[in-house]
Amino acid sequence: MKAAWTTVSSVSVVALVASMTAALAEPPADLIEAAKKEGQLTTIALPHDWCGYGALIDSFKAKYGIAVNELNPDAGSGDEVEAIRANKGNTGPQAPDVIDVGLSFGPLAKAEGLLQPYKVSTWATIPDAAKDADGYWYGDYYGVLAFEVNTDIVKTVPKDWSDLLADDLANSVALAGDPRASNQAIQAVYAAGLAAGATDPADIGAKGLAFFADLNKAGNFVPVIGKAASIAQGSTPIVVRWDYNALADRDTLAGNPPVEVVVPETGVVAGVYVQAISAFAPHPNAAKLWMEHLYSDEGQLGWLKGYCHPIRFLDLVKNGKVPQEMLDKLPPAAAYDKAVFPSVEQQKAAAAVITKQWDTVVGANVQ
């Protein structure tokens, strides 16, 4: 009798553990229920070619049958936070439920009371440095800054920051944003400063500015904001931008023109983006379900497909969940070993220097 009981109990314990693990892989049923009742999710600033969001949104719609209302895909992090602020009393479709913003915006939005906390079921596998302890914001993916080079026009592909100063690269190098306002552009200046050997954030900013001033004096810098169209047309044959955007561009352009994506040898800066749910979200349950979707293995691999390193990357690799073909399509892992992840304070200190002094140090003289 006792033996039978032990067998039954051990079997049931195993069954319980199995069902718990299964539960970990699936969001709770009542959350799905509540989200379906809300019927809609409003997102903002999610271009379909950015980190494979197009496919992720489609898979969410297909899996749960919830409509996704996509606001302004071209919005910057500042726009997203402003959208939450501006729609405080508004439950209409203009109010975003979830945001995907630069690292420094997480604490900023939390301090203003614009976010609500939520810890996804895979919370434990998110590195501590990339999430808020109370669950208000949590890192979603990262990438490093790389050079996107149009090899039709640029014959010797630059391998490092110092190569950008070469004589044959006149009117070639551009940033992907305005360094007085855009996170991506400021990080590029930061990376140049790191490559120049600085260690203190303010000094990194100053050295980065000096580099771009040299680049401008050599006539190599183009002040136009680089995009796929300007790379193809030839006005900005080299653009410094996140590697996932560069790789996505390479795919879109499909060889016309051929594009090479180079992670510089020194000065490799990684940028983390964070997810958060709006405190005034009209569809909070749909928002939470969306987070569960993004942080599930399926969601994380969806980002990887878009060339973004998901925040749970190391955990997934450890558990052997990443298909080899996906790994092959990414830049070599060696490049990522040298990646520096600036903290929020470091970013702020450098940004203060860069944004204030860009015009005086680098800005072209206006005649």
Partner: protein, 262 residues
């Protein structure tokens, strides 16, 4: 004494070159989608996209609504100011210049705060309500151009005499306005209508933040990641907008011909 047309022709040719060459450059780039050959591939991709037709027709409908609202608002006001309240002219002109310097993004944020679902006039709650808000926003954006055009047109005709003549013939003010003043400022109204149409077709900020499926946000979406399609789209938008204006011109002229025959 016949005037030499050399000067005018020269002006036209130089003007033509300045305006057409950049368009040509854009067109040439849009043909380069297939490597090594010229093709209309980019155009095929654009036309095949259902989002293009939907957003374009939405913006056209909204543009027409904006023109009607704008004309109904501006022409009587300008007429009234000319006739009865010339002292208010500087104030009205200053107000009409404001939409040019107040960034659209500020105005629309104001709309979101004033007309959201928790205010007295919850326009953003319904699609039609938001459409109306968007139309009013566009009327505001087009105000400087519409007012200036109508004002210039009114200056060119003798408003006082026309009004007095009409009134002495027994016309009430609606008749004066719609059957005497409007036809005489037809060219000016048409100019203002053209600019309004172009503004609405290309406008992005209002449509995007109010979340309406207009052409501007669609253009932005395509332009974000693609290389050749935005150029194709720019050319298509230019040509179709031009055609719509040509249509408006024909309708405007046609009505004038009819009224002349009487």
């Amino acid at each position: 004494m016949k005037q030499s047309t050399f000067g005018p022709w020269l002006a036209m040719i130089i003007g033509g070159l300045y305006f057409l060459v950049p368009l040509l450059a854009t067109f040439e780039f849009s043909l380069r989608m297939k490597r090594g050959e010229y093709s209309f591939e980019a155009y095929r991709v654009v036309f095949a996209d259902p989002g293009f037709q939907a957003s374009f027709s939405y913006s056209v409908a909204l543009a027409l609504a904006t023109i009607v609202l704008g004309v109904l608002l501006v022409v009587p006001t300008a007429y009234w100011i000319h006739l009865k309240l010339p002292k208010l002219k500087p104030l009205v002109e200053f107000v009409t210049l404001l939409p040019l310097v107040i960034p659209a993004i500020v105005i629309v944020f104001g709309y979101l705060r004033m007309y959201n679902s928790s205010s007295i006039l919850p326009l953003t709650n319904s699609a039609r309500g938001t459409d109306l808000l968007l139309a009013f926003g566009y009327v505001t954006l087009a105000l400087p151009y519409m007012y200036r055009a109508v004002d210039t047109g009114l200056r060119a005709i003798d408003v006082r005499t026309l009004t007095e003549a009409a009134e002495s013939l027994g016309a009430g003010w609606p008749t004066v306005l719609f059957r005497v003043i409007f036809p005489n400022v037809r060219v000016a109204i048409l100019s203002g209508a053209f600019v309004t149409f172009a503004i609405v077709m290309g406008e992005f900020t209002f449509a995007s933040l109010l979340n309406r499926p207009a052409f501007g946000p669609y253009l932005q979406l395509i332009g974000a990641n693609r290389a050749y399609e935005p150029a194709a789209l720019a050319i298509i938008a230019f040509l179709v907008t031009w055609a719509c204006m040509g249509l408006m011109q024909v309708i405007g002229q046609g009505a004038r011909m009819v009224s002349r025959k009487r």
